[in-house]
Subunit: 203 residues, 2 copies
Amino acid sequence: MKSEKKQGRPRAFDAKAVIGQAREVFWDRGFSAASLDNLSAATKLNRPSLYGAFGDKEDLYLDTLEGYREDSLVILSAALNPALPLRENLARIYAEALKIYLHGETAARGCFLISTATAEAIQHDRVREVLRRSLNEFDDAIKERMELSVEQGELPADTDAATLAKLASAVMHSLAVRARAGDTRETLEAIARSGVDFVCGRR
Amino acid sequence: MKSEKKQGRPRAFDAKAVIGQAREVFWDRGFSAASLDNLSAATKLNRPSLYGAFGDKEDLYLDTLEGYREDSLVILSAALNPALPLRENLARIYAEALKIYLHGETAARGCFLISTATAEAIQHDRVREVLRRSLNEFDDAIKERMELSVEQGELPADTDAATLAKLASAVMHSLAVRARAGDTRETLEAIARSGVDFVCGRR
DNA sequence: GAATATTTGTACCATTTCGCATAAAATTTA
DNA sequence: TAAATTTTATGCGAAATGGTACAAATATTC
């Protein structure tokens, strides 16, 4: 059952790349304010091609959210390398997050999920669902690393890893919001440093 | 120089009330997805009246943001009553926040500022400015209460009140996002409890 | 009561919006 | 090379959008 070449005219674009370009548009403008013309221009695909490949605007937006979730989880997992101290893991998570949040043409864009999906979460159940699932997955990844720390005595034996992980995430959520609000890199890095201290204990 | 009654046909509406009704619309739909028809229906004002009294859609939205900022600051200040222990202050802040965040017709609406202003913050500088200013004011209010705690020995003398206040706010930011994402009240209350412990120290 | 000032309601306009119909183009299979 | 299949490009269209012109309505001031 090997995959033969699909018959018919071949696509002149790479779906993953297009989703990435669409993400940039949504990231800057939000879902509702992003028009199909904006998306068409950024992806260099005309509307019928976008429709044929991805469905309507909401479908395409959901694809960009899923892509961001996956990318983020890869970065998070790498930062959580258990060979490193938990303190270092957290510092890396926040550093990687800030690298993403502080990037942007006109202003720092913050977290794609938090900055754009929250706005739509009430009216679009599927968006709220992706948002909820993503936040939970991030929490879980951190929780598992913390459970390891508890086993290894790096964290106190009575630590509630699940709750502590949610607090570690909370710092990241705050960085996301503050970055989009225009806080300086210095301010955000200071919050990240103290966040590490408070989650892992001051040394 | 006393204020005489303004001449001309009097307004048949209360501006504050209208801004409150408009806020509900923006809260559920976000700025971009809220149409003037939605706003007109919710406020029972036709478009020319809205325009005459508040300016264009962005002006009206900024009014709703300012109103929310003011309301929130009042609630925050009340919760920060210095006659109570800091621990109790924080618990009240989170409880008041959750009261607001978990309210909603179809789904919990989260924080009006974080859920709707972040999406527009890149394209609309004035929105980003209100968002930034609001977050800073909340931080400052908490910081001042914490400085008092340091003076009174409730917090260690070497406490960095400004940073600790930002961490306390971070927990609130996370509650805001998670509420809008659909987390349960129980989950959020657990985060709030552990947030108090981590900021004030476990007892 | 007349003049003035402001608000309100109706209707409208130009633009933008999303989405699709249709046909041309490009590729595989027969 | 012809048929079949899928993608691309042009262009259309119905609906919704933000915003406004204009006149009627309602108050104050003179």
